[in-house]
Symmetry: C2
DNA sequence: CAGAAAACATCATCGAATGCAAAAATTCAA
DNA sequence: TTGAATTTTTGCATTCGATGATGTTTTCTG
């Protein structure tokens, strides 16, 4: 249907935004599980019943931009550069994970991260979303390199890269290190995976 | 406290077992979300309230042996063999994931797998458990190779290996391949990670 | 057997989630 | 502009998972 014209669509987008902002504010103020759906709905001036026509559940609000981000990642994989290797492409995907061009997402990034790290239900939801994304990315990668990758190799590549990046980031941040250090850890992890675990004990290869 | 003697402990173990078996049977018969806690509790002849003193929630029943399996994995990492490389140890851990020595777990393995693949809530829970396990394993690995690994490298290694194995297994099974093929895919994925992603697709290519 | 401790049941409550039908808002065509 | 047609919102009822409080039964210890 029409994408942005129409009062209806605009109002819908506005309500969605209001729900996200209201919910995130409440989560920050009084905690995720302490915030009830009734309160979230009230903060956007809709009924609790209406909430569920925007989000499937309380957790979904926190990941309001997940679909959009996945689409962008799939686009990167789908339009791979000429002569680019699988590894190079995946490193570029990891790198792209750092960029935000969405207002709302940028503003809420820190609070979202804090929530995901502290609320078990959100942690589980985040991992599930990430997992589904990996599957999609692996399929796209397989399609992008039809002559070089079978589906299992593609899955292994994506799983390894994302798995390493994820765990490296979490371990770094769990030690209380700042964002910058965490990103450095992610890049290092990606490099290790790219060049093989066997390179771990040995002197580091020349970084890219 | 005493470990296994005592009527109390035996009865508790028996009840726990009854809850697991009853729940899994009901899940198989009528589906996970169609089964209520009241029914599960009734199948083991306890009150619904008592159920929660055995499991934190309906999903936990399905992963009744998670803790035990993690402990065994940590034991492997903790007692690494003389001269064994990080990669070799991790490959051995992956391999050990295939072994079951628990009656109950063996009998319920197929149904459990089917459930996890089809029920979103269980998928999320499984990923969360796996993630927490990875953190613990990464820490253990770091402790086992204090001279060769920092915590980020250990995290990257574990994340890469587990991530690759997981995604490879799921992709394989999603294609309808049998267990044996899935395990082959897991081993292949582990090998790819061990030798580096760059080894994918192009047999003879200079490292980055 | 008596007292302590653990496990359990009963009762009550809260919140998330869903189905349903009525009401309101928006679109579109005449 | 008016009046359907369609979409969105809402209120209500209900189901179910989860938790707390409290008293009772069962098991353990001496």
């Amino acid at each position: 249907m029409m994408d942005d014209a129409g009062l209806r669509a605009r109002k819908k987008a506005k309500t969605r935004r209001a729900l996200v902002e209201g919910a995130m504010r409440l989560f920050a103020e009084k905690g995720f599980e302490q915030t009830t759906l009734a309160e979230i709905a009230a903060s956007a001036e809709v009924s609790t019943r209406t909430f569920f026509s925007y989000f499937a559940g309380k957790e979904e609000v926190v990941f309001f931009d997940a679909e959009e981000r996945l689409d962008r990642t799939l686009a990167i994989v789908g339009h791979r550069r000429e002569g680019e290797s699988v590894t190079q492409l995946l490193l570029r995907v990891v790198e792209a994970g750092a960029t935000w061009d969405d207002d709302l997402a940028t503003r809420l990034a820190a609070e979202r991260f804090r929530l995901v790290m502290t609320v078990p239900a959100l942690q589980a939801r985040a991992l599930h979303l990430l997992f589904d994304s990996q599957r999609r990315v692996a399929e796209a990668l397989c399609a992008a390199y039809p002559d070089e990758l079978d589906s299992v190799s593609a899955a292994a590549a994506v799983g390894a890269m994302v798995g390493a990046a994820k765990l490296a980031a979490v371990m770094s941040l769990a030690k209380g290190e700042p964002y910058e250090a965490a990103w450095k850890a992610v890049r290092k992890a990606a490099q290790v995976v790219a060049s093989g675990l066997d390179s771990l004990g040995r002197p580091a290869r020349q970084p890219v």
